[in-house]
């Protein structure tokens, strides 16, 4: 008997029209969508059990009202914002610096190829990274204001603690992606573990390191503008104060300043990244 290439369960007749998916895949797809829609509707109902729809219906009116109160922004308030803006920049920069300094050892302990112990130390380093990443800087600030008192210090520490996770995660991934052959070449010269790190791994991750630090600085500028809402200094303090006294033109000015700062920092970090890459 001649060997046949047709599998035994092949269909004997084929459809005349080509379709994108098999009927089974289509059925599974529709079922998936149905489940998602059902979950959505259920969540929507649970979420809005206590919603006052009267307020929601009123929202466009409220928005128009708020807009008319905010316009025009009060330009006379601008000079008063310069000192808090400087504070905000300092919170972001010093916080990034502190975060990076703490994140570098954590990243080396977390990377598979540089960690001293995969069983004991690596999980601890990963736990540090996850903890820092899952808590937003505003929550860190909320805790630190309660502990350290209101002021810039709480903001700096909050930003630093939040940055550890972000920088640590991206950096340890970069370390794991380094070329192992360079490490081997350096160890072939008789280098010690510390020298291997210094001459083989650090030069490889340096570009990634600068890019990550800059990226985080950029994010931190954004985040530090609002830390003042919980008392951690910077321009957010002014925002909170202006909202509390319902000085809407001042709020508009602050928002414009924040927007400008964010855009400038984004531009700066993009330029610097281009220059060092």
């Amino acid at each position: 008997m001649k060997p046949t290439l047709v599998p035994p369960d092949a269909p004997t007749t084929y459809a005349d029209v080509w379709t994108f998916r098999t009927p089974r895949a289509r059925l599974a797809l529709w079922f998936g969508w149905l489940a998602l829609v059902a979950l959505f509707v259920y969540c929507w109902q649970v979420m809005n059990a206590d919603t006052m729809w009267v307020f929601v219906a009123d929202a466009p009116g409220q928005a128009a009202d708020l807009g008319s109160r905010m316009w025009p922004p009060s330009m006379a308030y601008l000079p008063e914002l310069m000192a808090p803006l400087w504070d905000t920049l300092n919170i972001a920069t010093l916080g990034t610096l502190g975060g990076v300094i703490m994140a570098v050892p954590v990243a080396f302990l977390a990377a598979r190829n540089t960690t001293p112990s995969r069983v004991w130390i690596r999980p601890v380093a990963l736990l540090v990274i996850v903890t820092s990443r899952s808590i937003n800087s505003l929550i860190w600030a909320l805790l630190l204001v309660a502990i350290l008192g209101p002021g810039l210090l709480a903001g700096v520490v909050a930003i630093a603690l939040r940055s550890i996770g972000f920088v640590g995660k991206l950096l340890y991934e970069a370390i794991e992606e380094t070329d192992a052959r360079q490490v081997e070449a350096i160890s072939a010269t008789g280098a010690s573990a510390a020298q291997r790190l210094d001459y083989a791994i650090v030069p490889q991750v340096m570009p990634a390191f600068w890019a990550i630090a800059l990226f985080r600085w950029d994010i931190n500028i954004r985040e530090s503008t609002i830390l003042g809402l919980v008392g951690a200094g910077g321009i957010g303090l002014k925002l909170q104060a202006s909202i509390n006294v319902l000085a809407w033109p001042q709020v508009a000015t602050i928002l414009l300043v924040i927007l400008a700062t964010v855009l400038v920092s984004e531009w700066v970090s993009a330029r610097v990244r281009q220059a060092i890459m």
């Binding site: 649970v46 929202a59 708020l66 505003l138 309660a146 008192g149």
Partner: protein
């Protein structure tokens, strides 16, 4: 003529950036000057810090011995609000950002549409969630609905931007092949572009789900519902053991979401 010149006997590593020594000097000086100035503006009150350390210790104790029971009904309510808010906001955010993402891809749409969509993305990305939440709470009243709208709005900028960038980077040959069969714009979208970007879109949506949950823990501070409101209350009442419990729950859920989404992404690909 001798070819001998004096070479240094020891190899020295060349500097990685700023090869000119003077420039290096100037940059290092500027950095140092900035650090001194910035440190000076910190204005640390050490007596207050020392006083706070006792409180910090109590917080650490609360974190190590979290109290899940005494405020459980508040925590449960906050969690339900956070989770429902996260899911609905991600679904709505994705639904809105898909057309905007398609409109923001330069290789698919005419320039005016591209401009409009990229502007929407820029506006959504440049505003902080918490600032949007302040305004939406003022508009919609306290509660999770304001949080839902905030998160949906923030999701649009994130997903639409990454989707648009992704569509711009697709393989143009597949588009050309489908177009060569006489397909219209919608058919090109369905048969050439959607299969290429779908895995990434699913990945992005799952990632955004994760981010939205984390953000939902924050926007409660300004009254937009969710676990953040519960956390804020706990810290205001100095109930650090309840606050520790809430933070632990948030961390565990974020970890689960991260592992779950990476598993799901691998499964889908």
């Amino acid at each position: 003529m001798s070819l001998e010149t004096t070479y240094p006997t020891r190899w020295r590593r060349p500097p990685r950036m700023l090869r000119d020594r003077r420039w290096r000097f100037v940059v290092q000086g500027a950095v140092l000057a900035y650090l001194v100035l910035a440190m000076g503006s910190l204005d640390i009150e050490w007596s207050r810090v020392v006083e706070g350390l006792a409180r910090g210790q109590r917080f650490v104790e609360g974190f190590l011995q979290p109290d899940f029971t005494s405020r459980w009904s508040d925590i449960r309510q906050g969690l339900i609000e956070s989770l429902t808010m996260t899911l609905t906001a991600t679904v709505v955010g994705v639904l809105i950002s898909v057309p905007i993402g398609i409109g923001g891809a330069r290789n698919l749409v005419p320039a005016p549409v591209y401009g409009i969509c990229r502007t929407i993305i820029a506006v959504s990305r440049s505003l902080q969630e918490i600032i949007i939440a302040i305004f939406l709470v003022a508009m919609f009243g306290f509660g999770p609905l304001a949080g839902f709208v905030t998160l949906s709005f923030a999701s649009i900028g994130f997903i639409a931007k990454l989707l648009a960038d992704d569509i711009e980077e697709i393989d143009p040959r597949q588009v050309e092949a489908i177009r060569a069969t006489g397909a219209g714009w919608w058919q090109v979208l369905h048969y050439a572009i959607q299969p290429q970007v779908m895995p990434r879109l699913i990945g992005l949506s799952l990632y955004r789900l994760d981010i939205n949950f984390r953000e939902s823990a924050v926007i409660g501070i300004v009254g937009a519902g969710g676990i953040g409101a519960t956390l804020n209350t706990a810290i205001d009442r100095y109930e650090y053991d309840s606050a520790g419990a809430i933070l632990l729950i948030v961390i565990v859920i974020v970890m689960l979401a991260e592992y779950g989404s990476s598993y799901l992404r691998r499964f889908l690909q």
